[in-house]
């Protein structure tokens, strides 16, 4: 009996902690249904007279849907590219022993700590000279590289979990190593692939810095850059800002819900040592 009470008390404590920690996110959603006048004057955060006015404003007066579409394009392309590249490299690291593989692992460590600003300065000049500012290509390429370390390490650990004997048996039967990879390892690690793909999609979708350097025209901006430009344009129009922020995080929250059980592997992938 005592034991049962303790467990329910822990649940209440847990919910209280969640409420405090997620308070800023909850207020974004609640405020998006309130007019700016009530947001800046009321002591309560609950929408007593809920309104969709902010969303109508976002829909009719801004390019928000363009921002969202641009984010989707960039995130989709970079996660697709990252997953292909890191699957190949991760497979090599999982199944082969060659001196270059250790070196490559070191290179990934350096990529992970590399201050992006250092690459961004020359890349901005380089792509500007190619007339590729406001073009998605540089952004997609930079996102891909920044995702290689965790994606490679994560996929490698999934491949490691598949017994070598399986693909060795196939190679003995005359299957080429790549075919064994595609036909045997890939299907077995499919859930891992989905998780890594969604991780890297989320990273690109959420990212602000690189997009803000390269994508400066309004019809090219991604969602975070677009909302930041709203922050400068409508700095005190909290209602519309909150509505755009709410819409902006919906894709993140949905995808997050699907991969949350893989989060642990993702968070510790950086800790995997070669």
């Amino acid at each position: 009996m005592m034991k049962l009470n303790r467990r329910w008390l822990l649940l209440i404590l847990g919910l209280a902690i969640v409420l405090i920690v997620d308070f800023p996110i909850i207020t974004v959603i609640l405020n998006s249904f309130r007019t700016t006048e009530t947001i800046v004057s009321s002591h309560s955060i609950l929408p007593t007279e809920p309104t969709l006015a902010n969303y109508l404003f976002i829909n009719t007066r801004t390019h928000f849907w363009t921002f969202l579409l641009n984010s989707m394009i960039v995130a989709f392309a970079s996660s697709a590219l990252a997953i292909v590249l890191s699957a190949l490299a991760g497979f090599a690291m999982s199944r082969y022993r060659a001196r270059i593989l250790g070196g490559y692992n070191q290179a990934l460590l350096i990529v992970q700590m590399f201050p992006l600003i250092l690459a961004i300065i020359p890349l901005f000049i380089f792509f500007r000279n190619l007339n590729m500012v406001n073009n998605f290509t540089p952004v997609i390429l930079v996102y891909t590289v920044t995702q290689l370390p965790f994606a490679t390490w994560m996929l490698r650990s999934y491949f490691d979990s598949i017994p070598r004997e399986l693909d060795e048996a196939a190679t003995v039967d005359g299957c080429s190593p790549l075919r064994a990879f595609v036909q045997i390892i890939l299907p077995l690690t499919a859930p891992g692939f989905v998780a890594v793909a969604i991780f890297s999609f989320l990273f690109s979708y959420n990212e602000f810095f690189i997009s803000s350097v390269f994508l400066r025209d309004e019809d090219r901006m991604t969602m975070p850059v677009g909302i930041q430009s709203f922050m400068q344009q409508y700095s005190t129009d909290w209602g519309s800002l909150m509505a755009s922020a709410t819409l902006g995080m919906i894709p993140t929250l949905i995808l997050f819900f699907f991969i949350q059980k893989y989060m642990v592997t993702g968070a510790t992938a950086g800790a995997v040592k070669g």
Binding site: G14, N31, S41, A107
Partner: protein, 305 residues
Amino acid sequence: MALKVDQRLQAGLPAVTQTVKASFQPLPYLLLLPSLAIIFIIEFYPFINGVSFSFHKGTLLGTGAFVGLGNYLRLFNSPSFYHSLWFSFIFAFFNVLVSYVLGLALALFLNLDFPGRGFCRVALLVPWIVPAVVSIVSWKWLIADRGGLVNILLGSVGVGPIYFLSDSGWAMVAVIVIKIWRSFPFMMLSLLAALQVIDKTLYEAGRIDGANRWQMFWNVTLPHIKNISIIQAILMIIWSINDFETPYLLTQGGPSNATENLILLSYRYTFGRNDVGLGSAVAILTLILLMVLSTVMMRQQARIA
């Protein structure tokens, strides 16, 4: 010179030496080729350019005269540089320290057995997963001078307003607090993962031996999470020093550059003042700082572990 089997296992090598020396295999090299190519184009080649820029005068439109260490000397004589170096340090220091304490406390909590802990775990990861710009919109309102919730509430008890974003001291506190809020879930998640794999029988053995909770935490839990703690702390220091989004979106480095870290300083020199040489020099120094820090910490880790 064959190592003993258990030595080999410790070193992470397979227990049995493969005696058949395979002939040269081109496949691993081919598999790495695409990744290496893109890393070369997107990071290595720009890095070489960046080193060269840092030794030249230059704007975004073109590189000018060679100035040797001129840009670096200008930085070493500039208070802005020392301020952003200092701010980067305290930003990283407090972020890692507080995120670790909070993350460990919450991981220990989530490791207890109670209904709904799965939900709590997911819900506590939300600050880490939402786009920075979304949380900054919210925080900006919460701590706004006029109309922000904190100041409305303070006002109703006759205090304030506190100018969180226009007072240098408060702005630094705000940037650090919001960064902690955005990063502790990562620490919590990895520590929870480490806690969940600790063998439960160790605690039972401890209980039989009459150890109290504190002794079990100190002698069983901590040694098991030491390695992951050190590695994640190193990662978090690196990420904190490299953070652009939190300070830029919240304060753009202001007021009067109080919350400008090294990355923002490099950004301002390059894109604000159009001084590519100086901006690159800051970025190179940041990279050197990161490499030194992580090497020292890895060494330290190797000694402890």
